[in-house]
């Protein structure tokens, strides 16, 4: 009787033990890969990416295509990002452009510029950068050139510089699916 019960329970016990071993190995591997990913993260780059993707926790960078792939805490892929740079009014403007997919811009973040402060302040006060949020890549151009973006009066060259830098970044879109 006792042996019969043992034989009946054995397959269930085996499955439980195997499942526990599976969970333990997955947790261990997740911990190891997380440690490796964290060691590869540049805090400044991650901070810049988080300006566009607030939920970003990890990123990977392809040296050849210069494309950042962005992940959230659950390791789900949430978008891509690339840098672009063009001349504004008196300086180069470097922007980080975040994309949800190959069609839609999540947002942009200006990482470097040395424009005249009074002109740049106009862009900030007019929320110039917000107009990139959620737009289609195809619409990413000034209105006069068929897009939907508007320049800021009194800061036209800086506005155009930002748009041109974004378009420079978007030349890398061919590298994503």
């Amino acid at each position: 009787m006792r042996l019969r019960w043992t034989r009946a329970l054995y397959p269930a016990l085996l499955l439980v033990v195997l499942t526990a071993a599976s969970i333990a190995s997955l947790v261990a591997m997740a911990g190891y890969t997380r440690a490796v990913l964290e060691s590869q993260q540049n805090p400044e780059t991650l901070a810049a990416l988080q300006q566009v993707f607030p939920e970003a926790t990890f990123y990977s960078f392809d040296i050849d295509t210069e494309v950042y792939t962005v992940y959230n805490n659950g390791r789900t892929h949430i978008g891509y990002a690339f840098y672009g740079s063009k001349w504004g009014y008196i300086s180069n403007i470097t922007v980080l452009v975040g994309l949800e997919d190959s069609q839609t811009i999540r947002g942009i973040y200006v990482t470097k510029q040395l424009e005249s402060p009074q002109y740049w302040k106009r862009l900030v006060d007019k929320n110039f950068f917000d107009q990139f949020d959620g737009i289609k890549v195809a619409d990413c151009n000034l209105e006069r050139y068929g897009g939907i973006l508007d320049t800021v009066t009194g800061a036209t060259y800086s506005s155009r510089g930002v748009v041109a830098a974004v378009q420079d970044a978007l030349t890398k879109i061919e590298y994503i699916d």
Binding site: P11, L14, S25, M29, S60, T65
Partner: protein
């Protein structure tokens, strides 16, 4: 030793998983638009197949028949998850490129079939030989199909950002259908017909 080699060669030629057993046709069609993708998936499948065969073969004496399939499923699913995490960490662009076909390895008939149908009934060495043969045979066919499709569809061959060669004339006027899904069906169908006509691959 010869039995071991025979088992190894079995998976490459006489029991090739794609051309003879008609297993793994889904990835063979979907992930052969470029040689790079094919090599990446081939490597992933090889790793999962080898590891699952080793583990299942080592545990075969303690796995009752009534739960053999669930046990194999748990082992394969775990190994695929580990492979996915490793690709995500060390080969992120390859992982993005392969997309859903990397986690789908857990459902490939090649992996489940060989683990449950062969490794669960054979010794460790024979299981390793079989897994290596099957994995190599699978990767070889994927690479062959991908090479044909990429050469005809783009006029050249590129792997890991290195352009191996281009064919003058063809690179200017490639046969685009070969990089489309229809071209995948065409290529595999023609390969199947060719190998059987030549007698390289025989019906069992």
């Amino acid at each position: 030793m010869s039995a071991w080699l025979k088992q190894l060669a079995n998976g490459v030629i006489s029991a090739n998983p794609v051309l003879v057993l008609a297993l793994g046709l889904c990835p063979a069609l979907a992930v052969t638009a470029s040689l790079e993708q094919a090599l990446g998936l081939g490597a992933a499948v090889a790793g999962v197949l080898l590891a699952s065969s080793i583990i299942v073969s080592l545990l075969r004496r303690i796995i009752p028949d009534s739960v053999r399939l669930p046990v194999v499923l748990i082992i394969v699913a775990t190994l695929v998850s580990i492979t996915y995490m490793l690709f995500q960490t060390f080969f992120p662009s390859m992982q993005q490129s392969l997309g859903i076909y990397l986690p789908l390895i857990a459902a490939y008939c090649i992996v489940l079939g060989r683990a449950e149908g062969f490794a669960a009934r054979n010794t460790l060495l024979r299981s390793i030989a079989d897994a290596l043969g099957m994995a190599f045979g699978f990767a070889l066919v994927l690479a062959l199909v991908a090479s044909i499709r990429e050469i005809l569809g783009t006029g050249g061959l590129e792997v890991f950002n290195n352009q191996l060669f281009t064919i003058p004339g063809l690179s200017d006027n490639p046969v685009y259908i070969f990089i489309l899904p229809a071209g995948a069906f065409l290529t595999i169908g023609l390969l199947l017909a060719l190998f059987r006509r030549m007698g390289v691959v025989k019906h069992e």
